[in-house]
Symmetry: C2
Subunit: 137 residues, 2 copies
């Protein structure tokens, strides 16, 4: 069980209340970098309890489960720690795209001589997955 | 020339003075996540001028070139931008390991039931590469 596999995370990475650590989320299978988030004490506790990525959402000012709106949860396969002990890398098995705009990765734009251009194909329709969000066309 | 390839980066990503953006550095060939840093206006200008990763070093309180002590520069092959426009992903060709402790990636420790364990082989001898740093044994 994933929930048992990571249950000791808070023990091995004690974090002071209010402290945020950057965390990179990478697809464990195809190695795409999916997103970059911040985690706090509560997010680490919820990761330990569920085996799924949780992070502090700065806009909502609270900890959210990745996928709680979309169903695109991210099961954690491996947890890596930086040399400084203050950054994390989550290797995950995603249930769907990470980006609310319809892409597997939030980093879907690439710099070209003409500026930032979409470099990845859409993997889902965000209007179907996030019906509560009004998308402009 | 790499320096010409990214020369318009500050134009396509204007950043206010004092603002820091998180940036993930990934090996373009083997897809390892090498490190996670922050970049400011000056770091982006130096990336544009050289085609190599520069970042704000919080300990030194200044922008440094990755590799300026070790020679392990990171040539930028691709620059990706997050959906929010406030995070970067640099895909790089590294001249050597990213981690001052002798590893290709700073994320060389993996969580196990016994805690954080070294999961990657050393790729260089840090005492040879960083002679000015005293390592304890």
């Amino acid at each position: 069980m994933a929930s048992e596999q990571w249950s000791d995370l808070p023990k091995w990475l004690p974090v002071a209340p209010g402290k945020l650590l950057p965390a990179v989320v990478q697809d464990a299978a195809n190695h795409m970098v999916l997103m970059q988030v911040e985690v706090n004490q509560e997010a680490l506790a919820r990761i330990a309890a569920t085996g799924r990525v949780h992070y502090y959402h700065p806009g909502k000012r609270k900890v959210v489960a990745k996928g709680e709106a979309s169903g695109h949860f991210q099961e954690i396969v491996e947890i890596r720690l930086s040399c400084g002990g203050d950054q994390l890398l989550f290797k995950v098995r995603p249930a769907g795209g990470a980006c609310e705009l319809g892409y597997a990765s939030c980093f879907f734009r690439s710099l070209t001589p003409q500026g930032w251009e979409t470099a990845d194909p859409k993997t889902f329709d965000p209007e179907e997955v996030y019906p509560e969000i009004a998308f402009s066309h």
